[in-house]
């Protein structure tokens, strides 16, 4: 069993603000990320796929197939965007990296079968790095 990981980059701006909280509660929860004008990041995304090593190719997957899926399902959607203003996921929910990683995972899962119709490999892990100082990881169940 083997796991293959590709790294991708995109840039986006956001503002962390929960509609259910008061202004002072929002400032307490999000600190400077609550700045009403917003701010941005260069996100680093790792997508891991897990599956058997195919003896014929020496590969777990064709990286070009994963690149096409990630470009279509993630990079074209999020790169160069205002997450709050342009993404339906964040019309109500704050675009924290936790929520962003979950949205990326959902979009990848939706396109996964079309990209990998054989059922192998499967999506195993997503790691989203917001800055060099923080990252967020979702592992799929075995």
């Amino acid at each position: 069993m083997m796991r293959v990981t590709r790294r991708y980059r995109f840039s986006a701006c956001h503002r962390l603000h929960a509609p259910g909280l008061t202004p002072s509660e929002n400032r307490a929860a999000y600190g400077q990320c609550n700045n009403p004008f917003g701010h941005g990041h260069d996100y680093l995304l790792e997508v891991s796929a897990q599956g058997p090593l195919q003896p014929a190719t020496g590969r777990v997957l064709n990286p070009a197939a994963l690149d096409r899926l990630v470009a279509h399902a993630v990079l074209e959607v999020f790169h160069g965007r205002n997450l709050n203003a342009e993404l339906p996921e964040f019309a109500a929910a704050p675009p924290t990296s936790e929520n962003l990683a979950s949205a990326i995972r959902r979009r990848l899962q939706e396109g996964w079968w079309e990209a990998f119709p054989d059922g192998e490999p499967r999506l195993a892990r997503i790691r989203l790095q917001e800055t060099r100082r923080n990252s967020f990881e979702i592992m799929e169940e075995e």
């Binding site: 069993m1 083997m2 590969r59 064709n62």
Partner: protein, 138 residues
């Protein structure tokens, strides 16, 4: 506890299957199918699992692990052309996946002989592509 040691080596490779056409090889392996070859600064991370020794406070003697990696990986592979000089890549495409498994096969018996468990071999082919191998089976 997991303990990881990292080594690097530089080597050339190409990925082709002789029974496939030029177009099929390009489709399957992309730029890596160039028959003249190209190279990478490969980064290998070897992770051992076990409890720290109660006397030394160490999971494994990292000097010994460094020596195992030098002898089994760096010495035979650094500044080599993998396809021509490092078996089994004379008959097996030296993809990052196959390289990770080959390194597992070289390192695991030595770690086991020393009474420890190899947890993973990670091979970075570029800064944006790496493979984790967790065992010998495909």
């Amino acid at each position: 506890m997991l303990v990881t040691r990292r080594v690097e080596f530089s080597a050339a490779h190409f990925c082709r299957r002789p029974e496939l056409s030029e177009n099929q090889n390009r489709e399957l392996y992309g730029e890596a199918a160039n028959p003249h070859g190209h190279g990478h600064n490969w980064v290998v991370e070897v992770t051992l699992e076990g409890p720290p020794d109660p006397v030394t406070g160490m999971v494994f003697d990292l000097k010994a692990l460094k020596e195992i990696l030098r002898r089994t990986v760096v010495e035979p592979m650094d500044h080599r052309f993998l396809n021509y000089e490092v078996p089994p890549f004379d008959r097996l495409a030296p993809t990052a996946e196959n390289l990770a498994r080959e390194i597992w096969r070289r390192v695991e018996p030595e770690v086991r002989a020393a009474g420890r468990r190899l947890h993973a071999v990670r091979v970075w082919e570029t800064e944006d592509f790496y493979v984790d191998c967790f065992g010998d089976e495909p």
